[in-house]
Symmetry: C2
Subunit: 247 residues, 2 copies
């Protein structure tokens, strides 16, 4: 645990918090804290700082929290054609760790419709995984997740309000354009708009129709060499490249 992440409701108005269950056990048995010790901590969608251990007993740890640093919200958003459930499940924590502001999951021609009916897309399933990723990367910004059953409706009706500004890129195996080059010539990026939305297709790729639709809505193609990668590998690699290009 690189960061003790607390929900807003877990922190009282005087800044104290009592944690129990696995977090108490981790503090006591792995980090071996004692009263007076400080641990790195943060509040979900809030600040970063430290918690000082006030007291420990068998089941709980009482902490005094100070969250005095406001972490920067990741400037990258993701529009992802829904991968198969097993792959999606592996991605939640990794996306949150790499840093994503918004995750829009969409249908596409080469996405199987029954992928949308799994527990993998339930908040009760993915929220703990996103928090795990945030704790790994010491961030507090929980990615905002939305699920879209029709790509065309998303692009035509919803995207401008979900992502009102910023550069739009679409990862396309056929493109020779690097992230750095694509951002360098991007009008939104040149205007100083700080957010970047990256669209990542399904295992079998976007169809030509979908690529045209994305292009018509301002998505410029970027590539990363000739190798075809599994969705989760591609997604991690692409997010890393985009963050690096924005660094």
């Amino acid at each position: 645990m690189n960061l003790l992440l607390l929900e807003p409701a877990e922190v009282r108005s005087d800044g104290t918090s009592v944690v129990s269950a696995w977090r108490a056990r981790h503090l006591r048995d792995v980090l071996r804290v004692q009263p007076g010790h400080e641990v790195r901590a943060g509040m979900v969608d809030g600040g970063l700082g430290t918690c000082t251990v006030l007291a420990l007993d068998e089941d709980t740890v009482t902490l005094k929290c100070t969250f005095d640093v406001t972490p920067i919200r990741p400037s990258v958003d993701l529009l992802l054609a829904l991968p198969r459930p097993k792959v999606m499940q592996r991605l939640w924590a990794q996306m949150a760790a790499l840093g994503v502001g918004q995750i829009m999951l969409t249908n596409a021609t080469r996405v199987e419709r029954n992928y949308f009916d799994t527990h993998v897309l339930e908040p009760d399933n993915y929220r703990p995984l996103l928090l795990e990723g945030l704790q790994q990367a010491r961030d507090t910004h929980l990615p905002v997740v939305s699920i879209h059953r029709r790509l065309k409706v998303l692009l035509e009706d919803d995207l401008d309000s979900l992502c009102p500004n910023g550069a739009r890129l679409v990862a396309h195996p056929g493109s020779k354009e690097t992230f750095t080059a694509a951002l360098g010539t991007n009008p939104a990026h040149q205007r100083g708009e700080t957010r970047t939305l990256l669209a990542v297709g399904p295992e079998g790729g976007w169809t030509d129709f979908e690529l045209h639709l994305l292009a018509a809505h301002g998505f410029a193609a970027v590539g990363m060499g000739g190798r075809t990668l599994r969705s989760d590998t591609a997604c991690v690699a692409l997010l890393a490249l985009l963050h690096e290009a924005l660094r």
Copy 2:
């Protein structure tokens, strides 16, 4: 299956090959091949090309193979502090898909010794996973795997013969150096040596002693921003960044 990958022993001297079991079923039921159809194919550690379907029956597919393209061996090698078995198991296929010439797995202070005693490091376990990654990425170069119980012995006695030339980089969360910048000033890279060896530490990081030892053996530090990532996410992200910097 993006590529039908055959072992050298599976291809007769006249270029024909008979495949059975899951590959025959995949050709017949998923790709729905018929006599005369061509499929993309390759030979492990050999060429790339096509196989033409000669005949099908209930259990087998007979093919005529032409391997006329020699793929370029990935110019990246990896020296990886052995992650915990579950994470290592997830990495095999991804490393092969991203493209790695050699994988040297090593002990380090923050690696638990019992990680070395798992079936995850048996060739019978990892070879099929590496092949899966090659088939995904349409490559034929099977990464060469070696296992090293002592980092110091590896660096002092074995590394110069395993990796006789090329740039050496070590990923270090504290470094602000990008891959592009680090390669730009690297003497081996400037001399035109084409290989690059990347060292990736354990979950808890290299110790100061290990970092000094790596530096003494020519490893220059590179970073990728302030976020701490799980070993497998970090490994995929770092390999993607290195390949991109070499592109």
